[in-house]
């Protein structure tokens, strides 16, 4: 009796161990044969720990200087041109007074007072729009880009109220009739969603620089803020720069050389 119980236990133990190793072996073998499906980053992708932009306002001085950047951005992203207050903009030009109201000073140098500034989403390190979005349609990527997932946007416009830089636009109407020439490679948006600059995340992920950077002929630099040898860090080291409304603490990622 005793002996047979012992045998039984031995056998059961052996069988259990066999099962363990056996199934592990099978699992490993099938892992080796399994090739997909899976997803990966494109090998061409540009990557960074924190993307940032430096705009040289000594080179981009007037609205005419900035217009090619606006055209480049708006045509690749199918941004409509609506001739009313309901216009949509990802990048635009404005005055020092409007762009930098918290750093306005009396008797500004005439040059700066009349200069035009290229304004766009600042891709803040502490983005208020992300905090208020109830659906996480706007969120922060690990590389610092404040991204819009247009599929999730319900058009509540909290983000527009949260953004201190006026960088977001709402589609009050179907934008398609106002798009002069559609880019067939990129979607449009629809009535009832908010949109803004995405730092060209779709281009970076495919190994292309942002459209406005390409169109600026070197007047706008783009790179990794955490890499001290990057073009942007070099420009910040060598020039006096300012950011929009720094006292709010959102830590904008767009710098302006004055």
């Amino acid at each position: 009796m005793n002996k047979s119980r012992r045998n039984f236990l031995k056998l059961a133990g052996g069988a259990a161990a066999g099962l363990c190793f056996g199934s592990a072996g099978v699992a490993l073998a099938s892992e080796g044969a399994h090739r997909g499906p899976y997803v990966e980053e494109s090998p061409k992708a540009f990557t960074a720990k924190r993307w940032a932009m430096v705009v040289d306002t000594r080179k981009l001085k007037t609205a005419e200087d900035i217009q090619p950047l606006v055209d480049a951005c708006h045509s690749v992203h199918n941004v409509p041109d609506i001739p009313t207050k309901q216009d949509i903009k990802w990048i635009w030009s404005d005055t020092y007074e409007h762009g930098f109201p918290t750093t306005e000073n009396n008797h500004l140098s005439e040059d700066v007072e009349h200069r035009a500034f290229a304004l766009l989403c600042n891709h803040c390190e502490n983005p208020p729009c992300v905090r208020v979005c109830p659906t996480q349609a706007t969120f922060q990527r690990p590389d610092g880009i404040v991204m819009m997932d247009f599929h999730r946007c319900i058009g509540c416009r909290y983000c527009m109220a949260g953004c201190p830089f006026g960088a977001r636009s709402f589609n009050f109407q179907d934008p398609r009739p106002f798009i002069k020439k559609e880019n067939p490679e990129f979607p449009t948006r629809m009535r009832g969603v908010v949109e803004k600059c995405t730092f060209c995340s779709e281009r970076l992920d495919n190994g292309q620089m942002p459209a406005c950077v390409e169109a600026s002929k070197g007047a706008v630099l783009f790179g990794d803020l955490t890499d001290k040898d990057s073009e942007v860090r070099k420009a910040l080291r060598e020039n006096f720069t300012i950011r929009r409304k720094p006292s709010l603490g959102t830590e904008p990622g767009v710098y302006y050389i004055i």
Partner: protein, 130 residues
Amino acid sequence: MQYGGKIVIGLVIFVGLLLLPTVYDLGAGSAGYKQPKLQMPAPPNDKNCVEDTEWMRKNHMQLLNDWRDWVVRDGKTVYVNSHGEEFEISLQNTCMKCHNDKEQFCDKCHETAEVTPYCWDCHLAPKGAK
């Protein structure tokens, strides 16, 4: 059982109405469903789909759902399918480059199945067939 007869008749009518959709569906609905004739990709796009045809028929909506999250939320743009082949993840630049006749492919099936994906409010269909 004063109103017995009336109650029974009422019950029969009620149950009959209740079952009508199911009975109708069994007859004409699912059993009568025939996949419409689709415009299949012409050469050189008649290579295999991103996954097997049978699997795509059943799962393309789920796949597209995953595709958009992978690109928009995770920044992953390359899909390696179950045979190890690579595809750029894009509705307009991958699916619709092969299936370039949306009306005679996607729409035809969806009309028969009475689904209206809202993707085309934003995504642009290939030119020529709108």
